[in-house]
């Protein structure tokens, strides 16, 4: 069994909705910041660019180069110093200055050239002057921007956090008449305001995000709980309840699916309705099954009664004529299904004549058994009327054809023995040949008779009877095709030779035991293979003339 802890839909939903809300806020915040940053920075760039143009206006590069190389202040240098001082005072900037980048590594990687000094700073002692080295004011990373500005056209911008706060700087190379860069003119603007705005923006976005996430979560959670979780829990409970009921009770009437009463109109309602239908179907299926099982039991019990009735229709008390000494008779039938299509019969027509009948109805089961009853009754009735056996079968055949919608037919053999003479008149309607034991020859003979057509097959058939003679000690065996056609697992048939063989072995055995021995031999041969056909035998021994 999987012991995994059961997860709840609600918990999962909560986690998912929080993550989802946070993602939306972060995404929106990032977009807002990007747009604001871009537009503000563009504004700064224009501002810086204007100031740089003003500060570099009419600059004599060659003169400035001379000043830098000799570290002396020319007239033009002094004028430029004044211009930068004015710009420093007039515009909202932090610094305006010129430096000459010397190298990347600290310290002293820059040399100051000119620095705009505001009125308020005039008296500061650490103001920059021509030739002043930068010490550790410029980090290696920042110095790199200056070096790169020396070798590029236009303005290089960069943002940087310094001890004076967030700065945005624009750098432009100053060139001599040959176009060689001799210094970098730089303007630093404070972007503290922008950073403050952004910080406030992020804070408010975060706050709004959390509020939105909470509202969103609560709304989603309540909605999902109402529309999905609760209905599913109801369904779950109803289904579990149903399963429990079905385990506890076998009565369909107690198997009630509690309607979870979901009317959401969506898939969950469909699911609920389907479950409802399914359980009702199951209930009606169980009812049907119960009814059919009862019906089946009833049919089975009726079938077993039918088997008993059928068995009781065949003479089954042995010896049947305890006061008769002229003959012995014994018969047995074992149907392949509950009711069989085989039958045998024997009866005294008058005090001197014994009739024996063996027959097989085509097909098996109840239809064959019903047809058998008709056949057996007709044969017995018409035998008692007198006349030749050929005439009896001719009449019986015509009557059977009248009531034979199912195209069934009967193979039948009937013999009538005159107990005074041993003469037996017989008729064969497509039945297995009788086997006769001649005591004087000590052998069993399959009596070759030309058989007529089966009974109930075609109307108007004329049957001919024949005669044979039985002597004292002779035996007559009648049987159905269930014996010679019994098969073993190799699909071999039992056959006539085996039958004659076992008969010879039992020639002196009592009749009832002989039939049991034959049956046992057939079973041994079949070796567990299914019995396909009824097995029926009748044996008579003629003991003495009357």
């Amino acid at each position: 069994m999987n012991e995994k802890k059961k997860k709840h839909l609600g918990t999962n939903l909560m986690i998912i909705s929080i993550i989802f809300s946070l993602c939306i806020c972060i995404g929106m915040g990032c977009i807002g910041i990007a747009i604001y940053y871009k537009s503000t920075i563009n504004h700064y760039k224009k501002y810086i660019s204007g100031i740089l143009t003003m500060a570099a206006g009419d600059l004599d590069g060659d003169d400035l180069e001379q000043c830098i190389n000799t570290l002396t202040e020319s007239e033009k240098y002094k004028n430029r110093q004044k211009l930068l001082n004015q710009i420093r005072d007039s515009y909202d900037i932090e610094y305006i200055y010129m430096v000459k980048p010397l190298k990347m590594e600290e310290p002293d990687n820059m040399m100051y050239v000119i620095s705009g000094i505001g009125k308020e700073e005039m008296n500061d002692k650490d103001n920059a002057y021509l030739g002043k080295l930068s010490g550790s004011e410029y980090s290696e990373k920042v110095a790199e921007y200056y070096i790169s500005a020396m070798s590029s056209e236009g303005i290089t911008y960069y943002a940087n956090k310094t001890t004076f706060g967030y700065m945005y700087s624009g750098l432009e190379a100053v060139r001599n008449s040959k176009g060689e860069a001799i210094a970098v003119l730089a303007v630093d603007v404070s972007i503290k305001e922008m950073v403050d705005v952004l910080t406030r923006y992020i804070q408010s976005i975060a706050a709004a995000g959390i509020i939105i996430a909470v509202i969103f979560f609560i709304a989603l959670y309540r909605w999902i709980r109402r529309r999905i979780v609760v209905p599913i829990q109801k369904l779950d409970d109803a289904a579990n309840d149903f399963v429990k009921k079905s385990h506890e009770s076998l009565l369909p009437s107690e198997l009630e699916f509690t309607d979870p009463e979901i009317h959401s109109g969506d898939e969950i309602q469909t699911l609920s309705d389907s479950l409802m239908t399914l359980s009702n179907d199951l209930k009606s299926y169980m009812n049907t099954l119960l009814r059919e099982t009862k019906e089946k039991e009833r049919i089975e019990s009726e079938l077993s009664i039918a088997t008993e009735i059928q068995a009781s229709m065949l003479p089954c008390i042995f010896p049947p004529f305890p006061n008769v000494s002229e003959f012995d008779i014994y018969a047995s039938m074992s149907p392949a299904k509950e009711v069989g299509g085989d039958f045998y019969d024997f009866f005294m027509i008058d005090e001197n004549h014994l009739a024996v009948v063996m027959a097989d109805v085509s097909g098996k089961g109840v239809p064959a058994a019903l047809f058998m009853v008709i056949g057996k009754t007709l044969i017995k009735d018409y035998s008692n009327f007198g006349g030749s056996l050929g005439e009896v079968f001719t009449k019986v055949n015509d009557l059977l054809c009248e009531s034979n919608k199912e195209e069934l037919f009967i193979t039948a053999f009937e013999g009538v023995i005159d107990l005074r003479t041993g003469e037996m008149e017989f008729v064969n309607a497509g039945h297995e040949k009788p086997i006769v034991y001649h005591k004087d020859k000590d052998s069993w003979e399959v009596y070759q008779t030309r058989a007529g057509f089966v009974l109930a097959g075609l109307e108007g058939i004329q049957y001919q009877s024949g005669t044979m003679n039985l002597k004292k000690g002779d035996r007559l065996l009648l049987y159905t095709d269930g014996i010679p056609e019994a098969v073993n697992p190799l699909k071999e048939q039992y056959g006539m030779e085996r039958l004659v063989q076992i008969l010879q072995e039992n020639k002196t055995t009592e009749l009832d035991q002989m039939l049991k021995n034959i049956r046992a031999d057939v079973d041994k041969f079949a070796d567990g293979a299914e019995q396909f056909d009824d097995i029926t035998m009748l044996c008579m021994e003629f003991k003495e003339f009357k």
């Binding site: 195209e407 039945h431 058939i461 056609e485």
Partner: protein, 100 residues
């Protein structure tokens, strides 16, 4: 333990080849076949060359087919093996069937 039924059609003549066993279990198949496949047949030939066994239930279907064909044409059996011929003789079916 089964039966294969194949039909060869030549106009109104049908030849039906039966292979296997025609017994209680398989006779209904032939019965059903006869019920729906022989509507336009006037001349029916049953080829028994590969039929191994016939039981009384099988005989019943053959009789039914014979009666059906009696009403609208002819039926004959060919290549009947000795074993099955013996069954036809025992049951008297030789009298009502045309066997070649």
């Amino acid at each position: 333990m089964s039966l294969t039924i194949e039909k060869k059609n030549e106009g109104t003549k049908d030849t039906v080849f039966l292979t296997g066993r025609l017994d209680t279990a398989t006779a209904p198949e032939l019965d059903a076949f006869a019920g729906k496949e022989l509507a336009n047949t006037q001349e029916l030939v049953l080829d028994f060359a590969r039929l191994e066994y016939i039981s009384s239930a099988g005989l019943r279907v053959i009789l039914k087919m014979q009666k059906l064909m009696n009403a609208k044409g002819s039926m004959k059996l060919i290549h009947v093996s000795d074993v099955i011929q013996e069954v036809f003789e025992i049951t008297g079916f030789v009298d009502i069937l045309t066997i070649e």
